[in-house]
């Protein structure tokens, strides 16, 4: 509604979030996994940001009852990175556990890391990989991706 005040033009954006990537990163870091995936579809810039592993790092251990063991970062990075850890192991594990109300009550970090390590080993060709199957199909973590028979 206009009154006697000077009519304003639609304000030209003085502030575009895309110019301030560090702020954008800080915001995106606080999102949950699903929202982050949605954010990755917004534009190329956002997509490239969401590929930073540090975003996923804060996501991974956000809800853990006790802090993750120190020295975990180089190991996770060496085994494939936080994003892979989240997508492959943590997310399915958390989903499964939350169905049974266990999500916030048990420390699943140890188990998740072990599974992640097993995954790396299988990708190396361990666990019978030499027998010609692609690592994706022989991964013992596939069970996490199958729908739970409720």
């Amino acid at each position: 509604m206009e009154d006697g005040r000077e009519k304003k033009k639609p304000p030209s954006p003085k502030f575009c979030i895309n110019d301030h990537v560090d702020i954008l990163v800080e915001i995106l870091r606080r999102l949950d996994g699903d929202t982050l995936a949605v954010a990755a579809c917004v534009c190329r810039l956002w997509h490239s940001i969401t590929r930073h592993d540090s975003l996923w790092e804060s996501l991974c251990f956000r809800h853990v009852p006790s802090p993750p063991p120190s020295g975990i970062k180089p190991i996770v990075l060496a085994l494939g990175g936080y994003k892979r850890l989240y997508m492959l192991c943590l997310r399915p594990v958390l989903n499964r556990l939350s169905r049974f109300g266990l999500r916030d009550r048990v420390d699943h970090v140890q188990l998740t890391l072990s599974l992640f390590c097993v995954d790396y080993y299988e990708r190396l060709g361990g666990g019978g990989g030499k027998l010609g199957e692609s690592s994706a199909s022989s991964s013992s973590l596939m069970f996490l991706c199958r729908p739970v028979n409720v």
Binding site: P69, G71, I72, P74, I75, A78, L79, P92, V93, R96, L97, R99, F100, L102, V106, H108, Q110, L111, L113, S114, L115, F116, C117, V118, Y120, Y121, L124, G125, G126, G127, G128, K130, L131, S138, S140, M142, F143, L144, R146, V148, N149, V150
Partner: protein, 566 residues
């Protein structure tokens, strides 16, 4: 119990070749009974009633049945039951012996009593449709027309039949409950017959009656086709195993590639949680035992593809105070094609260890049997903390006398901080073949049931099929092999405990951390629906529904000054 009735040696009167055979159950007909298939449920119900009545009647009150009653055409179970029930209904519970039941019976009283054996299919309802624990206690197949009169298998109410009592009833049930009647459900009819026939065949094999066994094995084949899912597969494997035993086919495959059996085990690893459970629980115990040690050495009797060790290496990498130097000695069988499978596995583990920053050394040992090893070959360092790990390997040693003792001694010579043992929770090493057969039928039924029922693998996926082949080979070994060839000599946790304790080992309790990890692992598998983790005096067992299937236990040298792992 009253004196035996004068059963005599007469054959039962039965109207042999009338053509009312249409609709008669063919299996029972082979054995001399005539029951219409459509009447089966009704017959079962009446048997149930009869058994209840008999169970509650005073023992004296039954004497009339033995002495005065004649049942015309006793092979016609339906009418026999009618007679029996009507007699009871017209009698007071505590009648005296003078009562003449003849007037309530529709048959002419006769001096020669004929009491026919009652069949008592005691079927226990179970939530799982394929659970073969629902097995009758009575031995239907025993009843040929000649045998029934000369055998002393009379109807005894609270008897525990020594041979077949609690045939496939869970061993935790007391004997008296074996005669508790339950309703037989129609859908399980063929399944029960299938199991009956399997048991009959096994018994015939045990007695050396190979002709009968052969006929019965073929019957099993026919019946199995009508089943679906786990029951069909189990029956097929057991039938094949029995056939091998009958025809003495022992496919000797000494050159069989162990990479094939490794492959099978990998599929088993992936399709169900048993091996993962074994690895996680054993690793937990080893991790705790190694706390504070700067150099650690694991001796693995069951190296295979080394799937157990990535998780331990990672856990060691993350332990407070940094990782120790980790040495792994893997023991495996010789390869027919001279490839060095062990070295390849070792190389991959070394890569993993390098990636996550753990100092690692691997050595592989090839030998035909664990008993060929001695501790000096292993070159244990003085400052090393040693752990010995065996997953499903120790039972093989029971095939040769003295082997297990030699191996246990070698283990002791390595001065281990901890010895982790995972074994199948079943007694497949009994002296009597039929007992072994029964136990194995029970055990593998539960296993197959869990494979099918957990919903993890889609039906007929390669994982599932290969896992079943893996288990099937064990079935063949338990049933059809003997002597040193029979290597699948599983024993229960209790038996292993006795053995370890007499070899001067003390148990190490696995602790709540291991239990929690195991439960979480199970929760990831279809919600752990059906799988159960149990703690048993410090050992952990994983089972399907109420049946424990594998057990993990941990041991240390008796009276040693080793650190307690808790």
């Amino acid at each position: 119990m009253e004196a035996k009735p004068n059963m005599g040696k007469e054959k039962m009167l039965w109207s042999g070749s009338e053509n009312q055979d249409a609709g008669m159950d063919e299996l029972l007909a082979v054995l001399g009974y005539k029951v219409r298939s459509s009447d089966m449920a009704d017959v079962a119900q009446k048997l149930e009633q009869l058994d209840m009545i008999m169970g509650s009647a005073q023992e004296d009150g039954l004497s009339h049945l033995y002495s005065d009653t004649v049942h015309y055409n006793p092979s016609d179970i339906s009418s026999w039951l009618e007679n029996m029930l009507s007699e009871f209904n017209t009698c007071a519970p505590n009648f005296d012996q003078s009562h003449n039941p003849a007037e309530s019976s529709s048959v002419v009283p006769n001096l020669r009593p004929k009491l026919k054996q009652s069949q008592q299919p005691c079927v226990f309802q179970d939530d799982s449709e394929y659970d073969l624990r629902a097995i009758p206690g009575a031995a239907v197949y025993r009843q040929t027309p000649d045998e029934s009169l000369t055998s002393n298998k009379r109807l005894k109410i609270n008897d525990t039949r020594s041979e077949f009592s609690n045939c496939l009833i869970s061993s935790s049930m007391p004997a008296a409950e074996a005669t508790r009647p339950v309703v037989m459900v129609d859908s399980q009819e063929t399944g029960i017959r299938l199991v009956h026939t399997l048991m009959a065949c096994a018994e015939a094999v045990q007695e050396g009656n190979l002709k009968l066994a052969d006929a019965l094995v073929k019957q099993v084949g026919l019946l199995a086709v009508s089943q679906a899912g786990a029951m069909q597969k189990v029956a097929t494997y057991f039938a094949e195993a029995l056939a091998r035993r009958i025809y003495r086919i022992y496919p000797q495959d000494p050159l069989e590639s162990s990479s094939y059996s490794d492959l099978l085990q990998m599929h088993f690893y992936e399709s169900c949680p048993y091996l993962k459970f074994a690895h996680f629980t054993a690793n937990q115990a080893i991790l705790e035992a190694f706390s504070g040690a700067k150099r650690v050495h694991v001796i693995d009797f069951s190296m295979k593809q080394g799937m157990q060790w990535p998780a331990l290496i990672q856990a060691l990498a993350l332990r407070p105070g940094g990782p120790p130097a980790f040495r792994l000695t893997g023991i495996g069988p010789p390869q027919p094609d001279n490839t060095d499978a062990l070295q390849q596995v070792g190389w991959k583990l070394a890569q993993l260890a390098r990636t996550i920053g753990v100092e690692f050394e691997f050595r592989g040992f090839v030998c035909n049997s664990l008993a060929d090893l001695n501790s000096s070959m292993l070159e244990i360092g003085d400052d090393e903390a040693v752990a010995v790990n065996s997953v499903f390997e120790l039972h093989r040693l029971l095939a040769r006398p003295g082997a297990i003792d030699k191996v246990l001694k070698s283990i002791k010579d390595t001065n281990p901080r901890i010895v982790t043992i995972v074994e199948q929770e079943a007694n497949h090493n009994g002296v009597v073949f039929l007992d072994r057969f029964t136990e194995a039928l029970h055990y593998y039924s539960s296993l197959f049931d869990s494979l099918e029922g957990s919903g993890l693998s889609p039906p007929n996926s390669p994982d599932l099929v290969m896992s079943e082949v893996y288990l099937g080979r064990q079935i063949y070994n338990v049933v059809s092999c003997e002597g040193v060839d029979r290597v699948e000599r599983h024993e229960t946790l209790t038996q292993w405990r006795t053995r370890m304790e007499s070899a001067a080992f003390d148990p190490v309790h696995l602790g709540s951390n291991a239990f929690k990890q195991a439960s979480m692992l199970l929760a990831l598998f279809a919600g752990g629906d059906g799988y159960r983790v149990e703690e048993n005096n410090g050992c952990l067992m994983l089972g399907w529904h109420t049946r424990p299937l594998i057990a993990t236990s941990a041991w240390r040298l008796a009276g040693g000054a080793n650190t307690d792992s808790h």
